[in-house]
């Protein structure tokens, strides 16, 4: 006991709010509004987002060129820390590869895939709204290529009412449309290694230039960098000619159940 420093009178007021979680309300203090943002896991991006992260209980819009997919890179760190409830994917374009997502921190059990045959129309909107109204859900990712502003406003209302992370992914052609989103980002891939991010709309001053982030997880970038010395144009024909050279390749995971004869 003597090793502990004597508590000074001013100490609890100064340190306790920092020690406690933001969403725990101390009964002797004024209640503060709930934490409105969730850190994106990227300090450069957090510095540019109002409140220092993705807004919770509001609509965030991510615009990408057709065929481009950078959503997991951008959202995974935040989703991994968003809680323990389901992360609902509404009408995703492909199957999420759960082992890879789990390796990057998002538990596979949390993934919930919702979709319908005519997901592009009203069904996807209905599904998104149902997911937002569910108490257990932590985050909703909706791929809505043909959504109208008034429909987005309805989703924004639902997200605000039920305090959910909501990301709507749309094609980049939609950037000229009006949107009720509090945050709009346009994602673009520079050369495969860097992700340039234009903040089209935020609660704050406009950003002059794009924000450059690492496009891939660090482990993947290391592999790509180590593979760089072998030029791609050279390696491919040699592999085609002699596939037995795989022993000298940079990654070779050979785990057959039984050796082939």
């Amino acid at each position: 006991m003597s090793a502990l420093p004597a508590p000074s009178p001013g100490l609890p007021e100064r340190t306790a709010p920092g020690l406690l979680r933001a969403d725990v309300w101390r009964a002797d203090a004024l209640a503060a509004p709930r934490a409105q943002t969730l850190s994106s896991g990227d300090t450069a991006l957090d510095a540019q987002l109002p409140g220092g992260g993705w807004p919770v209980g509001a609509l965030t819009e991510l615009l990408q060129a057709p065929g481009m997919h950078n959503e997991w890179r951008l959202l995974l760190p935040a989703l991994a820390r968003s809680g323990s409830g389901p992360v609902v994917l509404v009408a995703p374009p492909y199957l999420p590869f759960a082992p890879a997502l789990q390796a990057q921190g998002l538990q596979a059990q949390r993934l919930l895939w919702l979709g319908a045959a005519d997901s592009q129309g009203a069904a996807a909107l209905w599904l998104s709204e149902q997911a937002l109204r569910c108490a257990a859900v932590d985050a909703v990712l909706a791929w809505l290529p043909q959504v109208r502003p008034e429909q987005l406003r309805r989703l924004q209302w639902a997200a605000a009412e039920h305090y959910k992370l909501l990301f709507v992914l749309r094609p980049s052609a939609a950037q000229a449309q009006a949107s009720p989103a509090v945050l709009r980002l346009l994602l673009d891939l520079d050369d495969g290694a860097a992700l340039s991010l234009h903040i089209l709309k935020r609660r704050g001053p406009p950003l002059d230039g794009p924000l450059h982030l690492a496009a891939r997880p660090a482990a993947l970038l290391r592999v790509l960098a180590s593979a760089k010395p072998a030029p791609a144009a050279e390696s491919a024909p040699s592999l085609q000619a002699a596939p037995t050279q795989t022993t000298s390749a940079h990654i070779a995971i050979l785990q057959p159940r039984r050796a082939t004869p």
């Binding site: 709930r34 065929g67 481009m68 997919h69 950078n70 959503e71 997991w72 890179r73 323990s84 389901p86 199957l95 999420p96 759960a98 082992p99 890879a100 997502l101 789990q102 390796a103 990057q104 538990q107 596979a108 059990q109 993934l111 919930l112 895939w113 919702l114 979709g115 319908a116 209905w126 599904l127 149902q130 997911a131 109204r133 569910c134 108490a135 257990a136 859900v137 009412e161 305090y163 495969g192 496009a215 891939r216 482990a219 993947l220 592999v223 180590s226 593979a227 390696s235 491919a236 024909p237 596939p243 795989t246 390749a249 990654i251 070779a252 995971i253 050979l254 057959p256 159940r257 039984r258």
Partner: protein
């Protein structure tokens, strides 16, 4: 202990209104009391109907409600008699029990009541109140001797004779010599009179809560569309909720049956709901036992929206196929933990009911080497039926099964496999896509691909006659699509017809 009987009957809205009209001169005291007792607030805010119209069988609803106060409940004519002297202490006295029984907002429907030392006495007073059309609670009840004879059911057949004799009240009948009455009117009248005065024991067929809920309903008018059956079904569901509450059970499976109008020729129509026997059936299943009529109603609405009726319907019947006892639920002390919104399994069942079970999928990881087999996206329907077929007790919710709550350890991934999994793409194509090759032998996908890393060799040959897999995976860059995960089929090392390239995933 001296018995204390109550006679109760549902009070319909018209009568309540008439009461208020008739008692225009009535004491100001009586009016608020009556309206307080006959409050028209229905127990469930979700239903618009109030009073007796909200229930498929108002008297049964009242009986099931009363059974929680005393086991001695019986139906006599169109009223219920309750003997409550034995449970008075448990509920804190006679007045407290009466208040709990009649409490508006909790009782299923507004009711009027009368009391007495015997069931027949209470019934007679109830009939008198109904006749007078003013249930003036402030006045003391009529003494037994002053009750009119027509309120005694056994005397109904002899009323004209008795009236000519000058007998119009119970007291006058009782004053007649017993032997003469027995010879003239038979012993049953004397027995009834003895029972009414408490001189002979009263025996009734006591009501019990049925083991299985099954309630019929005749609709007010023929219904042509399946969606319109919902209005009738809502009354059955309200009744079901009362039964479930009384049994402290939750429903797992329900069947709604409707009878097609037999005069129509197309009652022999056959489809998923109609077997051609003149009846239609719809079975409803929930993963989690529930008492909530709103959830059941929304599920029913989604299912009924898909039904087409071949003929009009006049009769409905609701039956429980499976119920189980409800578990208690712990709530958090902190208010922040209580999130707004509906529960997960309610949402999933609603979606599955509207868009089909294949529209809801959750993933389970599997120990496999082929990427397409590492994960299994199971539908809600498959999950539920698998649980049922293996018979693991009560089928719990989808969320628990997929480990969303329990966090079941699906793979004890070592650090090495996690490092390898980090190199996997985050999107997987549901079907691998064959890639065309350019003149240089390199695959093309939105421009020529540049192979950045690889190969990652995958060889698999099962012991039995499984698929033989020999693939070399590469990470490739496409000018228009970013990083891709492609593989080359390596089956047969000779590669006679050139390498076959496939696109399998995308790095996002």
């Amino acid at each position: 202990m001296k018995p204390y009987w109550l006679a109760v009957c549902p009070q319909d809205a018209q009568r309540a209104g008439r009461d208020a009209g008739v008692s225009g001169y009535a004491p100001l005291l009586a009016l608020p009391l009556t309206s307080a007792l006959c409050g028209t607030t229905s127990p469930d805010a979700g239903t618009e109907l109030s009073g007796a119209a909200a229930w498929a069988d108002p008297l049964a609803a009242l009986a099931w409600w009363s059974l929680q106060f005393t086991p001695w409940v019986a139906q006599v004519q169109q009223a219920l008699v309750l003997e409550i002297s034995a449970s008075e202490r448990l509920f804190g006295g006679r007045m407290a029990l009466l208040q709990a029984l009649l409490q508006p907002g909790h009782a299923p429907l507004p009711m009027q009541y009368a009391h007495g030392d015997s069931a027949l006495l209470a019934l007679a007073r109830l009939a008198c109140d109904a006749l007078q059309q003013v249930s003036d609670l402030a006045q003391p009840p009529l003494p037994p001797d002053a009750l009119p004879l027509h309120t005694l059911a056994a005397a109904q057949a002899h009323l004209p004779t008795l009236e000519r004799l000058g007998c119009t009240t119970w007291g006058q009948l009782r004053a007649l010599p017993r032997g003469g009455v027995a010879r003239r009117f038979g012993a049953p009248l004397l027995t009834a009179l003895d029972q009414a005065y408490g001189a002979a024991p009263e025996v009734y067929a006591w009501l019990r809560l049925p083991e299985v809920f099954e309630a019929p309903l005749e609709l007010a008018a023929q219904v042509e569309s399946a969606a319109a059956m919902l209005f009738g079904a809502r009354r059955l569901l309200a009744q079901l909720q009362l039964w479930l509450r009384a049994r402290q059970h939750g429903v797992l499976e329900l069947e709604l049956r409707w009878q097609l109008d037999a005069r129509r020729a197309n009652t022999l129509h056959r489809d998923a709901w109609h077997q051609g026997d003149g009846y239609g059936r719809l079975q409803l299943r929930t993963a989690e036992p529930t008492q909530d009529p709103r959830h059941l109603e929304r599920l029913l609405a989604e299912h009924l929206a898909q039904v087409t009726l071949p003929a009009p319907v006049l009769y409905l019947r609701l039956r429980t196929l499976e119920t189980c006892a409800l578990r208690g639920q712990s709530l958090s002390l902190l208010p922040d933990e209580l999130r707004s919104g509906d529960s997960l399994h309610h949402m999933l069942e609603r979606i599955a009911a509207r868009l089909g079970p294949e529209s809801v999928r959750a993933v389970t990881l599997q120990d496999e080497h082929r990427p397409e087999c590492m994960q299994n996206w199971q539908t809600l329907g498959a999950q539920a039926s698998a649980v049922v077929s293996t018979g693991i007790g009560r089928p719990s919710s989808f969320a628990v099964q997929t480990g969303m709550v329990s966090g079941r350890a699906t793979s004890q991934a070592s650090a090495i496999t996690i490092a390898a999994q980090a190199l996997y793409p985050t999107w997987l194509l549901p079907q691998v896509r064959s890639l065309a090759c350019g003149t240089d032998g390199l695959p093309q996908w939105d421009g020529p691909l540049a192979l950045l890393a690889g190969p990652q060799r995958l060889e698999l040959q099962a012991w039995d006659t499984g698929p033989q897999v020999q693939r070399d995976y590469y990470i490739a860059h496409s000018p228009g699509q970013g990083l891709l995960w492609v593989y080359r089929e390596r089956l047969g090392l000779a590669q006679e017809q050139g390498a076959a390239w496939y696109l399998h995933g995308l790095f996002a």
